[in-house]
């Protein structure tokens, strides 16, 4: 993942935001969507993505559906009810963080 430390802390929120918008997604689709939105600037690696998805699933924030697609099984992730509520909270927290960072890094922009 590019600029790892800055992005790492937001990976779960990025995943949850995408799932909130798309309903359900599979791992590769998430990496491609992030690449597309950020015009190739942000590349989520497999080694970061899957442990994050499994952790969110274990926390009860994501649910899983498995389907057969093109001779293989595909695991889709979607937000649970608890996950949907948590997404709203985490996005609000992230927005607040970005606002504060902006005030610190570039105070002029806050006026």
């Amino acid at each position: 993942m590019k600029n790892s430390q800055l992005y790492k802390g937001s990976l779960n929120t990025i995943i949850m935001k995408l799932l909130e918008e798309k309903g359900r997604m599979y791992g590769y689709e998430i990496t491609q969507k992030v690449k597309e939105i950020t015009l190739g600037e942000l590349n989520i690696t497999e080694g970061a993505l899957y442990p994050a998805l499994h952790k969110l699933e274990a926390e009860g924030l994501l649910d899983v559906e498995i389907e057969k697609v093109d001779n293989r099984m595909r695991k889709y992730y979607k937000l649970t009810e608890k996950g949907a509520t948590e997404t709203v909270n985490r996005l609000a927290e992230l927005e607040e963080f970005i606002k504060n960072m902006q005030n610190i890094v570039n105070p002029k922009l806050s006026y």
């Binding site: 791992g27 497999e46 697609v69 093109d70 001779n71 695991k75």
Partner: protein
């Protein structure tokens, strides 16, 4: 262009040989690699093997990292899932009733059997492990990370049980309560593992049919 069954099997075997041992982790990575290769084949006009080779040269490290298991994270997850199980109303009622009965009504008749308690718990864990291995490795022939990450915690609780008995060896009263509490915890944990496995099996029957 969709990959054929042989291509999928090739990717699966490659991951197996690279020690991605859990079926649920491998399933996701097979789909991930297959999706990436399909795109590569059409964008760069490559055949399957060239596309696979080119993709793995760039991404092997990260793919295998995703297929590895982080014990520290696993332990945290297992603890968090077990704590949620302990909060269930039925579990609380069962534990309180059992604890009350054992520590009041049956205390006098249980104390003489304390020395055998440790071996009873050990036999129960061993029997549980043998049944587990027979069912998952022998009959179903599948290994799932989401289930196996629970086993480590069982052995930690058992060591806690042994330690507590050593600590209060000369205090029968304390030894009784420690054995009772941690013994109960072990029984609950084994029940939790059975419950999680059955729920996982009912929800993911398709996974047991693949490969």
């Amino acid at each position: 262009m969709a990959l054929n069954k042989e291509n999928i099997l090739f990717i699966d075997n490659y991951l197996k040989k690279s020690e991605v041992v859990f079926d649920d982790l491998r399933l996701e990575l097979v789909d991930h690699i297959a999706s990436a290769i399909t795109l590569k084949m059409s964008n760069e006009d490559l055949d399957f093997y060239d596309a696979f080779k080119s993709y793995m040269v760039e991404n092997k490290k990260e793919i295998l990292k995703a297929g590895m298991v982080n014990q520290k994270v696993n332990l945290k997850l297992a603890i968090s899932k077990f704590l949620n199980f302990l909060k269930l109303k039925g579990v609380i009622v069962f534990s309180v009733v059992l604890f009350f009965l054992a520590s009041n009504t049956f205390k006098a008749s249980l104390i003489p059997y304390l020395p055998a308690f440790q071996s009873t718990i050990l036999i129960a864990i061993m029997a549980f492990t043998i049944i587990w291995i027979t069912v998952f490795y022998g009959i179903l022939r599948k290994r799932f990370f989401v289930l196996e990450n629970n086993t480590f915690l069982l052995y930690i609780i058992f060591q806690l049980f042994n330690f507590s008995r050593m600590l209060w060896e000369n205090n029968p009263e304390m030894e009784f309560y420690a054995s009772l509490s941690i013994g109960l915890l072990i029984v609950l944990y084994m029940f939790f593992m059975c419950k999680s496995s059955i729920e996982f099996y009912s929800k993911n029957k398709d996974l047991y049919a693949i490969g």
